[in-house]
Amino acid sequence: MSREELAEEKNPMEDFLRMDRIPHIWCPGCGIGTVVTSFADALKKSELDLDKVAVVSGIGCTGRVAGYVKFDSFHTTHGRAIPFATGLKLANPELKVVVFSGDGDIVGIGGNHLIHAARRNMDIVVICVNNFNYAMTGGQVAATSPMGANLSTAPYGNFEYPFNLPYLVETCGATYVARWTSLHIRRVTKSIQEALAKRGFSFIEVITPCVTLYARRNRLGDGLNLLKYYYDQSEIQHGADTRTVGIDYQGKLIVGKFVDKEKPTFLDGMNTHLQKVLGEKYVPYGVKP
């Protein structure tokens, strides 16, 4: 087949991306693009009505995802993607609301909102791309930076304890928790697919190489090296006790689907409770007659 003929074929990502905004701003070797492809693939397989999908991002490298995906998409302030998504979902419960943002945004500045959305079992999907640092601003230490890693604001190495994200969200009440590296492409896709199909607070952590900052400062090679390294260091343990899945610097990465349980969501709880207490007088919310 000649090149001209090949060019006529349509890139399947065109249905999911704002092609007029591509190329994106992410560095060569960055893993965020791969996670976006996994997300698109999951949506394709989910057969959801894409007009009812909304993507909310905060600020940061991953925060730019909202600007590239061709859905109703919101690029909000730093750390506030989850409360924004909470409002959006409650205002229009028909929507499938996905928060797509980074570790600094969701867990650092937005940590309070993360734990409360998990506590309420808010029916949203959170895809948290974890690259262990604040990349957009130049590789500063984050709440997820492993101890000993070198960051631009921890130039002699990080001595703070990092968050163990699956443990954090599970204890707060999340009903679906998974962790993968971005090279676990099909598994990331499958997890997102499961989360999309689920009612409740779903949290998927995707470990991703930050080549320009985290890898460079720690002399871990290029994106390819780090991508492979994370993959090779990972060990799949579905249902693992999340207390044991903390991440050490360049240590073993326990990945897998840790939590998958059923629990009434915020709206379910509100409707059931108020109906019980108030009876006929209660006007149920967000329930199709």
Partner: protein
């Protein structure tokens, strides 16, 4: 602009004995607000309590968020989800909201925030009155922007102005503040809630054209762009970054100029449609007392006493504080001897009056730091000083 009658479900028609905070909640419900996200803070909490009590019978959401940052952000999300939304707060909470008030301005999101002011700074006087957030309401978030702020002087006006706030928010796609204070918030008075069909509601400027032609930030003739809501298939994007008509971020000086001018102009150029003032005996006045909120009620007494003493005093009560009635102040400045501006802060609006007076008339501020309302005698003293 589509005008409709209020949805009777939310309207508690009748004569009630309510405090200002409750009246704000009733105003919101009457205006069609069905989404309230808030965080408890004295002296505004009663509004949230009232809303949470009433909403199950109306059909809607009350959610107590984890903080004020979450509250305002949830409002922005819910507004894009198609709901009319409001929250209520006071000084410290208002400070926490500032960044995302900027987001609401940038995303051109209609929402209403009632600020039941107390004494500041910091924790200040949680249970006592103040009017010291007036400048923060206008300038609290970073960057150049315009908002609308109203100032009720009674529980009845808390009800009326909350409805007006919603109508303005929906008309201009902008956050609107109901800047009341502890005194009005906790004052119990008669509040008449009219029948639903006597309450005029302005609906959001929904876009009706072809889906692929929709541009979220293309100004209409009145400078306000049309809005859509998430889930209707427009696949729009909106961002807090400087953006073009498509809502796409464009980071250069030219688009910044367009974007910021657009946000500012849609309010400044429509200011004449927004500003509402209540003037009394202003035509032959030598002195004009400019006031707002609770202070304007105290000023009435002072003005009565001054008139009895033969002084020609006019009053201007600002129902709309922002955008500021620049033209009217300038006009009056050329005709009168002085302005007297009593307020429960150290001269925030007085300074604005002074700016607009262009040195043509002096401005005498009657100010204090909060915790009590003025003694009419102090205002009277200033009026007398003004005519001397």
């Amino acid at each position: 602009m589509r005008k409709v009658k209020a949805d009777p479900k939310g309207v508690l028609t009748g004569a009630h004995y309510l405090d200002g905070d409750f009246a704000i909640a009733e105003g919101g419900l009457a205006a069609g607000c069905r989404f309230f996200a808030g965080y408890p803070i004295t002296p505004s909490t009663e509004t949230a309590e009232r809303f949470s009590e009433r909403i199950p019978f109306v059909g809607g959401i009350f959610i107590q968020m984890e903080d004020e940052i979450a509250s305002i952000t949830a409002l922005i999300g819910a507004s894009w989800g198609g709901q009319k939304v409001m929250t209520v707060t006071s000084g410290p909470g208002f400070s926490l909201m500032q960044e995302n008030i900027g987001l609401a301005v940038m995303m051109e999101t209609p929402l209403v925030i009632a600020n039941v002011q107390r004494g500041g700074p910091s924790t200040g006087l949680p249970t006592l009155t103040g009017q010291s957030d007036m400048m923060q309401a206008k300038f609290g978030s970073h960057g150049d922007y315009e908002i609308i702020a109203l100032s009720p002087d009674s529980p009845q006006e808390c009800f009326d102005l909350t409805i007006k706030a919603f109508n303005l928010a929906e008309t201009f796609r902008v956050p609107v503040f109901v800047m009341t204070d502890e005194c009005v918030g906790h004052m119990h008075e008669k509040v008449i809630i009219p029948p639903a069909d006597e309450i005029e509601i302005i609906e959001r400027k929904w876009y009706q054209g072809p889906k692929d032609k929709y541009l979220p930030y293309k100004p209409d003739k009145d400078l306000v762009p049309f809005m859509v809501k998430a889930g209707d298939g427009y696949r729009f994007h909106t961002t807090g970054l400087t953006h073009d008509e498509r809502g796409y971020p464009v980071l250069n000086a030219e688009v910044q100029d367009w974007c910021v001018h657009h946000l500012v102009d849609k309010i400044r150029k429509n200011a004449h449609k927004i500003i509402e003032l209540q003037e009394d005996q202003i035509d032959n006045a030598e002195v004009v007392v400019v006031s707002y909120g609770i202070t304007s009620r105290v000023a009435i007494r002072a003005v009565q006493l001054a008139r009895k003493a033969g002084i020609k005093v006019g009053t201007m009560r600002m129902i709309t504080v922002w955008p500021f009635p620049e033209k009217r102040i300038k006009e009056l400045a050329g005709k009168i001897k002085a302005f007297v501006v009593p307020e429960i802060n150290l001269g925030q609006i007085g300074r604005e009056v002074e700016r607009c007076a262009f040195g043509q008339a002096p401005v005498i501020g009657v100010t204090h730091c909060g915790g009590w309302v003025h003694d009419p005698e102090d205002i009277l003293k200033a009026i007398k000083e003004a005519v001397r």
